[in-house]
Amino acid sequence: MPGCGCEAASPTALHGLAVFMQTTLSIATDAFAYGMVLFIISIGLSLTMGLMRVVNLAHGAFAMIGGYIASYITRDLGWGYVPAILLGVAGTIIIAAPFERLLFRRIYGKPELLQVLMTIGITFCVIGVTNYFFGPTLKTIPLPDILTRPVDIGFRTIAAHRLFVMACGVGVAAALWFLIEKTGFGIKLRAAVDNAAMTDALGVRTPVVYAIAFAVAVGLAAFGGIIGAEFLPVEPYYALRYMVLFLVVVSVGGAGSILGTLVACLALGAVDTVGRYLMPDFGNFFFYAAVIAIVFAFPRGFFGRAQ
């Protein structure tokens, strides 16, 4: 454990302080990176839960499908990382489309628990099918060299792909915010969620709006699944393994709020990282105690949409 460096300013104390500062910065960087990974994987779910009001527990399943496609493209076909991302996202949307038409469409606007039932069912099916076709082993998505290199950020080095993930997180947040808050599509989507029948009566083709929103959410899931695979490796059980994590992060942030999700991811990422550094034995205690504390302080999540 680093010295705290709070005694008199002797040379050793100064050195201790420097080490302490460095460690702190280093942990802070890790916390930030982890938070952004959480963000990029769960933002799609925030969109589905907050804006489409669908508690989509199959979110992880779509992320996983994206991961499998990308893994197939990079490992089996030997193509590059960028086509893997693009085709992974596109492929997942294509695979998800029939789900939307045949299944999800029936649960829009239905009680949350019914949605839970159906999306868990879908998750089970996806897991079963994946296991059947691809086997139960881990699948990796090899990164291009440029992303595997360590990058010197002054006080330490950090893997380039972490920086890449952070940049993606910021980009996605901004784009999504614009789409939802500033465009006509965003307004129609929010209206449809609020009162689908009335929105329809005002001439908005709500099924189309929903289908597009669903595609965006699924695309984001796949995107997150692919570029987050370094942290949450792709395997058949992925969807259930991380379900709680996604659900917690999104809800703490306030479903539907991009800023809220971002803050929640960073906060919980920080608690997790710091907890695991200081007292790893009680890492999970910290995490869930923080969840409870945050919910107590913000019963609607950080920036929950008013209900």
Partner: protein
């Protein structure tokens, strides 16, 4: 006549890979040794128990015994499940051959339980000497925070201290850790020369090893030692480069060089469909079936659990993992533990390459208790 054997294992869910290996081991054995023994046909019934769940384990065992009329129970991946089944055995007049569940104490819960896998203490203990032999004085231990992890920590501490080393810090990592960088930061801060790690096979091992590399620990010369769970063969294609050079101790490597193993790997690989999925639970199952066959032979197909168990006490044979025997007192398997290193084989595939053998290791865990 037909003798039925009920196998309980995680055939679906997050541990499906292990269950699949159970089945592969069983099928490989029956493929190589025939589906009947001493004139008795052997029929295997599989029951799925996806995660540790003692109530369900008990219900499945009961059903297998009472309804399916199996004469032998086998399998069992998790300790609590074995604990739940053990008290039934005497009444059921059925032996239980444990293919995996690795806590020492299970065998004390019933005189009819036999184990053909390993215990964590058994595979870990030789590592203490290995680390010391590598010239390492200060080690930090990082284990997953659950039963086997704690067993591993204890066994390693004891062995390493005995070899004159010092454990500078022990970390217990929550099971669902996704980002290991804070752990690595602690490793860095601890000033240790090496890390002793125990993680159950699966996605977290990948995260751990990657993080170990990414944070520059590997480059800075810190060594990584672990029991073989960390570098299970089925994870190696994914772990690949990241784990290259890691030293582990374990009772079985798929690459083990012997005719018995060659035959086993081929048969089990075929049973799996994808040979890359083969890993240690298969060999536990394979030898478990051997024990069950011997039991059937000894009882001539009659249901007599005590006689069956007595018949295999002290039994020794050559397993794919090397020479093994069943300890007459503990009913646990005595086996070689190998020191292995992750390396590429001739085809450029990553394997656990055996570099040293610790012969005839018993379970030190029981001795401690």
């Amino acid at each position: 006549d037909t003798v039925k054997v009920g196998i309980i294992g995680p055939f679906s869910g997050p541990f499906a890979l292990q269950g699949k290996n159970f089945q592969a081991g069983v099928q490989a054995y029956m493929g190589l040794n025939g589906k009947s023994v001493a004139g008795h046909d052997v029929e295997v019934v599989y029951r799925d128990l996806p995660a540790a769940n003692p109530a369900q384990a008990r219900a499945l065992a009961q059903e297998l015994v009472v309804k399916d009329k199996v004469q032998y129970l086998g399998g069992v991946y998790f300790t609590p499940d074995a604990m739940a089944i053990a008290p039934l055995l005497v009444q059921a007049n059925t032996p239980l051959v444990i293919f995996n569940a690795a806590t020492s104490a299970i065998l004390t819960k019933s005189p009819l339980a036999v184990r053909t896998s390993f215990t964590t203490a058994q595979t870990t203990t030789p590592l203490g000497q290995v680390v010391a032999d590598n010239g390492v004085k200060k080690v930090i231990s990082a284990v997953s925070d659950y039963g086997p992890g704690i067993d591993a920590e204890g066994a390693f501490k004891k062995a390493f201290s005995a070899a004159g080393g010092e454990i500078v810090d022990s970390i217990r990592m929550p099971m669902n850790t996704n980002d290991f960088s804070p752990i690595m930061q602690r490793v860095k801060d601890s000033g240790a020369e090496a890390v002793f790690a125990f993680l159950p096979s699966g996605p977290t091992t990948l995260g751990f090893v990657k993080s170990f590399n990414e944070t520059g620990l590997k480059k800075s010369g810190i060594k990584l030692f672990a029991p073989g769970d960390l570098t299970q063969e089925s994870d190696l294609p994914a772990l690949g480069e990241a784990a290259d050079g890691t030293l582990t101790t374990f009772h079985y490597a798929v690459s083990h060089d012997s005719p018995e193993n060659k035959a086993f790997v081929e048969a089990a690989g075929k049973a799996l469909g994808n040979p890359a999925e083969l890993s240690f639970p298969a060999v536990g199952a394979f030898d478990g079936m051997h024990v069950i066959y011997k039991m059937i032979e000894a009882t001539d197909g009659k249901q007599d659990a005590q006689k069956a168990v007595d018949a295999v006490k002290g039994l020794s044979w050559t397993s794919p993992r090397g020479p093994v025997s069943i300890d007459a007192d503990t009913r646990h398997i005595t086996e070689n533990i190998y020191l292995r290193q992750v390396a590429k084989d001739a085809d450029g595939k990553f394997i656990n390459k055996e570099i040293k053998t610790f012969e005839n290791q018993k379970d030190p865990g029981l001795a401690a208790k």
